[in-house]
């Protein structure tokens, strides 16, 4: 009699399920790796390259053809130029077809050969900054006038080829980008702005969200309206609210300054977004204002799922409102608060457009993310921008390590 044993290993059903899962995931994996993983890898690559915005276009030979002179002294001129000032171009060739109206009379430049009406030139290597004219003496063929000839000569586009060594793909590496990023006081002021913005922005948004959630955690008429209203800052496009804030706090014509002057709080207009350290505080306040709705929403959802029995029991025992909040609500909310803290911390750290629109990174508000843009586009040093991005990514890996250690213990999210 055979003994029944539980099956070992993976059965055919299980294999089929795994296969289906992978095939469902395949499109997503492909597209995400194409647009997330690949750029991330390329960021690492670029950060070691001495590359600026102008290098994005690879060096290429540039050719212009013209017919010069008249009568007996006529020539076709090819003006050949290397687009780059510091990279050479190899294997340069020119192909052109002469029109019937012109006859080659003199010697061809070195490297060129004529077969029938077709001109083939192999010019080899162009030095960096190469800029020369190749002249081919020609004469009018019988029965053509000069205007026609010029049109015909310049009408047939010469084809030029050549391979330049693009800085993106060659094997030249440098550490100067990182040197530049870590160099001097600038790095520390950027780090300080980032830490200040991230820590206070996150904590502020959480505290405000908690306060707002406490306000709305009871049912009364208009509760729905207020809840919708309090979500406005989060839902509206950042560009709209950021420009509104800039207008509101404008030193010359802003309503906030006018209000403060009128109330006698200040005697002269304050340049909110233009002076240290106020600008940094203001962008942090903006961050809090814009993202308190998100924490508010999550905290409120959690509050409403707390069992009311507990509070009734506390009432029976004579707990006061503050005691109930401190000893009952807060411990129940600790999970969602810590998860929100970690998530918001990372996203605040990542935030770019808010500061960029409010101050453009001036007046001591340049955070790491704004620095990426500043280096790459304002100073046109893409390599340095990529190096900052690598620093950001390093910080992020550190955060996510903490995140996953922590989140595995927390529910939900």
């Amino acid at each position: 009699m055979s003994v029944a044993t539980p099956p070992k290993g993976t059965g055919p059903l299980q294999k089929r399920e795994a296969r289906l899962a992978w095939s469902l995931l395949l499109p997503t994996i492909t597209i995400v790796s194409l647009v997330v993983i690949l750029p991330l890898l390329s960021i690492f690559w670029i950060s070691f390259k001495p590359i600026s915005l102008a290098d994005l276009r690879p060096p290429a030979p540039i050719l212009r053809e013209s017919l010069r002179g008249s009568g007996d002294d006529m020539r076709i001129e090819y003006r050949l130029r290397n687009s780059s000032q510091d990279v050479e171009i190899t294997d340069v060739t020119i192909r052109d077809i002469f029109p019937d109206s012109l006859v080659v009379t003199g010697a061809l430049p070195a490297g060129c050969a004529l077969s029938g009406a077709a001109l083939n030139c192999d010019l080899g290597t162009l030095e960096p900054g190469y800029n020369q004219r190749l002249r081919i003496p020609v004469a009018l063929a019988e029965g053509f006038d000069e205007d026609n000839a010029e049109e015909a000569a310049e009408g047939s586009e010469p084809r030029v080829t050549g391979s330049g060594d693009s800085i993106l793909t060659n094997s030249e590496f440098t550490l100067s980008n990182f040197q530049r990023v870590f160099d001097g006081d600038e790095f520390w002021s950027v780090m300080w702005a980032t830490v200040f913005y991230t820590v206070f922005g996150t904590v502020g948004a959480l505290v405000m969200g908690l306060f707002a959630a406490l306000l709305l955690n009871k049912s009364f008429r208009g509760q729905g309206i207020l809840r919708g209203l309090y979500l406005f800052p989060y839902v509206a496009p950042v560009i709209a609210v950021a420009f509104t804030w800039v207008n509101l706090f404008d030193p010359f014509s802003g309503s906030a300054n006018a209000l403060l002057l009128q109330m006698g709080v200040t005697s002269e207009a304050i340049n909110f977004f233009g002076q240290r350290p106020l600008a940094l505080i203001m962008v942090t306040v903006f961050e809090i204002w814009r993202y308190f709705p998100l924490s508010f929403l999550f905290i409120l959802a959690r509050m409403q799922s707390i069992d009311s029995d507990m509070y009734e029991a506390a009432d029976m025992d004579g707990a006061s409102p503050f005691q109930k909040f401190w000893y009952l609500s807060l411990p129940m909310l600790l999970g969602i608060l810590s998860v929100l803290f970690l998530l918001r911390f990372i996203w605040t750290f990542n935030k770019f457009d808010d500061i960029f629109l409010l101050t453009g990174g001036n007046a001591g508000t340049r955070t790491l993310t704004v620095n990426v843009y500043e280096q790459a586009f304002a100073i046109s040093n893409i390599g340095a921008g990529a190096a900052v991005a690598v620093v950001i990514f390093g910080c992020l890996l550190l955060f996510s390590f903490f995140f996953f250690r922590f989140i595995s213990r927390e529910e939900g999210l």
């Binding site: 299980q14 469902l24 839902v235 209000l259």
Partner: protein
């Protein structure tokens, strides 16, 4: 803090702080509404508020208290020694004083409800303070949310020179009629905002569809099917969701420049879904996990295969989640600014947010910029308010990127 446990301490304290809050609020409201200078008087507010608080916990009958507080504050404000100083026409002054006096009388009594003059129990003391903080909270949050939006709308309706003269005067010249909307008209006529809106709209809608097409199968596989690497997978979704856009934008900019996709709407449509797919995956997998697996098992038993189960059972059940994910993705795509700003230079291909950022120049009057902001904000706000229930559910179902 034991001294707070006396009605004659807590009452004046709360009364003083509350009147300061109210006089500031009323002053700001009337300044913004009329343009006339109103300002709260700090010390008088505190002083008169303290007296009002004391009266409110005092032994008088309720109506007598109300009458006393309202009458005193109204009279003092009118003679210029009240909690709020107003330099305005008499009608406006009477109105402002009446509003301040009435609201103060009524709310102070509500806050001091059942608060005796002498010893307070801990409950009575805390209840009074909580009522004060609640009132303060409602005013505070409503003000900080409303003021920027109010300023945005009103600035778009006024001319820049009028605002330079008095930045607080948001009153509208209603005689102009439709002329009030001049800046909107110019935006649509001269700045091609109609076209930007259309571009934004179809880009957002396409983004929603592409995102759903990729994320529904992916989220289902992660949530339901067992395969090795499932856990690592759901974690890496979260990880990807944490990569900052600016880090990706740099290589994307380089790649798009080299392939000629920069400055094309196609490029934008290619790149937007990638920013939203991780969000959608995350929200949807949370929702799919919450659906009862038994229903799907029943479908499998009855001879459907997995794909049929997804199509005929899971998706119809997940319809609310799909709606909220779609809305959320639409909102992200509509509000997206960074990529549009970096990748689009040609004004004929702008999305709405990119178009608004173009208006931020010293040559273009500010009311145009604000009108652009209103045009960009209005559709998402309307959509959001109309479908708020979906949104809030969807936002809290999966955690959400900001």
């Amino acid at each position: 803090m034991s001294f707070l446990r006396f009605g004659f301490v807590t009452g004046p304290l709360i009364g003083a702080l509350w009147l300061l809050t109210l006089s500031t609020t009323v002053a700001i409201t009337f300044s913004f509404a009329t343009g006339d200078p109103f300002r709260p008087s700090f010390w008088l507010s505190l002083g008169i508020g303290a007296v009002a608080g004391l009266v409110a916990v005092g032994p008088l009958a309720r109506l007598q208290k109300l009458g006393a507080i309202v009458a005193v504050i109204f009279a003092l404000t009118m003679i210029g020694a009240g909690p709020m100083v107003a330099e305005a026409g008499s009608a406006v002054r009477i109105l402002a004083a009446a509003v301040l006096a009435g609201v103060t009388g009524w709310t102070t009594l509500v806050i001091m409800d059942d608060t005796p003059l002498h010893r307070l129990t801990r409950h009575e003391m805390e209840a009074a303070w909580i009522r004060f903080l609640t009132g303060f909270g409602y005013i505070f949050f409503t003000a900080i949310v409303l003021i920027p939006f109010y300023v945005m709308v009103m600035t778009s309706l006024k001319s820049q020179s009028a605002l330079l003269q008095n930045p607080l005067d948001f009153s509208l010249d209603l005689d102009k009629g439709w002329g009030l909307f001049r800046s909107y008209k110019e935006l649509f006529q001269d700045f091609k905002f109609g076209r930007y809106m259309w571009t934004s709209f179809y880009v957002s809608v396409l983004t929603v569809f592409i995102t759903l097409a990729f994320s529904i199968p992916g989220a289902y596989a992660v949530a339901r099917l067992r395969f090795s690497g499932q856990k690592a997978f759901s974690r890496s979704i979260l990880l990807i969701y944490m990569v900052p856009m600016i880090v990706l934008a740099l290589p994307i900019y380089i790649a798009f420049s080299m392939t000629g996709l920069r400055n094309t709407v196609i490029g934008i449509i290619l790149i937007y879904p990638v920013t939203t797919i991780p969000v959608a995956l995350y929200m949807l997998q949370g929702y799919f996990r919450g659906l009862p697996a038994e229903v799907e098992d029943a479908g499998l038993m009855d001879g459907l295969n997995r794909l049929q189960v997804i199509w005929k059972i899971t998706l119809p059940l997940a319809l609310p989640a799909l709606a909220s994910v779609s809305l959320y993705v639409f909102m992200i795509a509509w509000n997206e600014f960074l990529l549009a700003f970096m990748l689009l230079d040609d004004p004929s291909k702008f999305t709405l947010t990119r178009g608004v950022s173009m208006l931020n120049s010293s040559e273009i009057p500010r009311e145009h910029l604000m009108a652009g902001a209103v045009i960009a904000t209005l559709p998402v706000l309307v959509l959001f308010l109309g479908l708020e229930k979906f949104m809030t559910k969807g936002l809290t179902a999966g955690s959400v990127k900001g």
